[in-house]
């Protein structure tokens, strides 16, 4: 339990831990840059760089990457539109069944995705929502909405009531107060919720697998799965697709790492 400052010796061990844990990520990048297919052993370091995998990946999966992007952005917009007002109501209005709603949100986390998919399949079939971007956005929001409500509610609950009361006294109704006073103060929590909702939707595989049946609307996660048929002839293309499918996560981690860490903690604890 040493809380004192450690030296470079600790950094070295830290790097070692990280190297072990991140080896698979390195391996993905390494294989993606190789010319070879699964017939030969992959060299440990990509000495002969080749973009063959990336050309193939963009050719086969470019459209799927775009679909993933549209679905993920759509899910973020839809989820926040639903979650932010609800979080505000749960944090600041005296609503009798607020606790019941919170309990429902917690219990909803225990409903397996496969159960949701099983029931939605027939409903989507009747409603013509199979193979549609809208259908995937609605289904993918099952991960984002409860999570965003919990994060935003925790944050909004900690806002100073005096600011909100001041808006009331100035004659602003609940909607004006919410839009022009509360939301701007919640910027960080909104960014954090948006980020996670994006990652959930981007990484969704189960709904893509069950609620789409044709090529029309196929996110890249399902594209990778179809690549992973029983026999994979060309691992560098698969890994190039994997890298492309991980890019949003890498970019978000670099651009917004403090939101990621904050979101993980708040979302889980509060």
């Amino acid at each position: 339990m040493n809380l004192h400052r450690g030296g470079w010796w600790h950094t070295a061990v830290g790097v070692l831990i990280l190297a072990v844990l991140l080896f698979p990520v390195y391996w993905m990048a390494n294989v993606s840059l190789q010319t070879s297919s699964s017939a030969e052993q992959t060299p440990w370091i990509p000495l002969h760089l080749s973009l063959h995998g990336y050309r193939q990946a963009l050719h086969d999966q470019g459209g799927h990457l775009l679909t993933s992007l549209i679905v993920a952005v759509g899910t973020v917009v839809f989820s926040l539109l639903i979650a932010a007002p609800a979080a505000y109501a749960l944090a600041h209005f005296k609503i009798r069944f607020a606790n019941a709603v919170l309990l429902a949100i917690l219990v909803s986390q225990m409903v397996p995705g496969i159960v949701v998919a099983n029931a939605l399949y027939s409903a989507y079939n009747d409603l013509g929502l199979l193979n549609s971007v809208g259908g995937l956005i609605l289904a993918d929001s099952t991960a984002g909405i409860p999570f965003a409500i919990l994060i935003l509610r925790a944050f909004m609950g900690s806002l100073p009531t005096s600011v909100i009361e001041a808006a009331w006294v100035d004659g602003a109704g609940p909607i004006r107060t919410f839009v022009s006073v509360v939301l701007p103060m919640c910027r960080n929590a909104l960014v954090s919720s948006a980020l996670f909702t994006f990652l959930f939707a981007w990484g969704d595989f189960l709904f893509a697998l069950t609620l789409t049946t044709t090529e029309d609307v196929r996110p890249v996660t399902l594209g990778i799965y179809t690549y992973l048929g029983s026999y994979v002839p060309d691992w560098s293309s698969v890994m190039a697709t994997a890298v492309l499918a991980s890019l949003p996560a890498l970019v978000l981690l670099m651009v917004a790492q403090r939101y990621v860490a904050a979101g993980t903690t708040t979302g889980a604890i509060k």
Binding site: L21, I82, F93, V115, L228
Partner: protein
């Protein structure tokens, strides 16, 4: 919870409209929860008692079959295996993720040069889509050309190439190991957050009394970390029991059902055999199991807390 209600002096007719307006903030979310969680659960309960197959989509008929789906599902040869696999997968994954995540969190509790950067890079495996992780590990664990077997082969005295994902005795272990790898960053991040909240002077005081190292962990860190530990384990339980994507990506439940869990078998029944009634029956069993575990877990913790 903060209460920013209207001051009571505001006139009552306006207040009623205000209340209705406030209500509207919550309506879309409640409607969504009902449609995308409530409806599926109710629909699954109903489907569990119906013969609901592809035929249903053409004829619109789903005859009632009583408990036939349940007896078919439970009587199937896959069921026992799936229950055992679900238990091993869940317990093994959570134990591994937690212990390793805690070790990492304790290590990165020290402040040393670059510790912040290293800690945020640690999140990577968790942010990568799960199906991507499956793809990476499929190639690392490949029997003939995988990185792991190549390392093993180069060790003196080893000349076996285990089929990590293709042998019935190893596949489940391999799947658990990959899931542990995915879960370490999440566990480490949350536990690290919990460790940060423990006041450092407690350790200084304890050190004066001679409590350092293991003793300090046992009597200060662990008791104060318990609430966070409970949250991490409960979330781990709830999420792990319903994992589908990782297993489908790595082994598709095989070989010979050796990695089939309740969740993947439910998927298989509905979307590979198109028996939505049986898939629903197994899904319902999964809901009950996860609710029971979550409830028991919460109860046990309330008693000790």
């Amino acid at each position: 919870m903060a209460d920013a209600r209207l001051p009571s002096r505001i006139s009552s007719p306006g207040r009623r409209g205000q209340r209705a307006l406030e209500f509207l903030f919550l309506v879309p979310a409640v409607a969504y929860l009902v449609l995308f969680f409530g409806y599926p659960v109710v629909k699954n309960v109903v489907m569990g008692f119906q013969e609901y197959t592809t035929k249903t989509f053409y004829t619109g008929e789903a005859p009632w079959v009583g408990l036939a789906n349940y007896s078919a599902v439970i009587g199937s040869s896959v069921f026992d295996r799936a229950v055992l696999n679900t238990a091993l997968f869940t317990v093994g994954s959570i134990a591994g993720q937690f212990v390793l995540g805690l070790a990492v969190a304790l290590y990165f509790r020290r402040r040393f040069p670059l510790s912040g950067v290293l800690r945020s890079l640690l999140l990577l495996p968790w942010l990568v889509p799960i199906i991507v992780s499956s793809a990476i590990w499929r190639w690392i664990l490949d029997q003939d050309n995988g990185a792991l077997n190549r390392v093993l082969e180069s060790l003196p005295g080893v000349d076996a190439r285990p089929g990590w994902l293709s042998s019935t005795s190893l596949a489940l272990i391999a799947v658990i190991v990959v899931n542990i790898w995915i879960g370490i960053p999440f566990n480490a991040t949350i536990l690290h957050g919990g460790l940060q909240d423990i006041p450092p002077d407690l350790y200084e005081a304890a050190a004066l009394d001679g409590a350092r190292g293991w003793k300090a962990f046992r009597y200060i860190t662990w008791p104060l970390l318990r609430p966070v530990v409970n949250v991490v384990l409960l979330l781990g339980l709830v999420y792990t029991i319903k994992v589908v994507d990782l297993i489908l990506g790595l082994t598709r439940g095989g070989p010979a059902n050796s990695t089939q869990t309740i969740a993947t078998q439910s998927y298989h029944l509905s979307f590979a055999e198109f028996d939505f009634g049986q898939g629903a029956a197994l899904g319902n069993i999964l809901i009950v199991v996860s609710m029971v575990f979550a409830f028991l877990y919460l109860r046990a913790n309330r008693r000790t807390a």
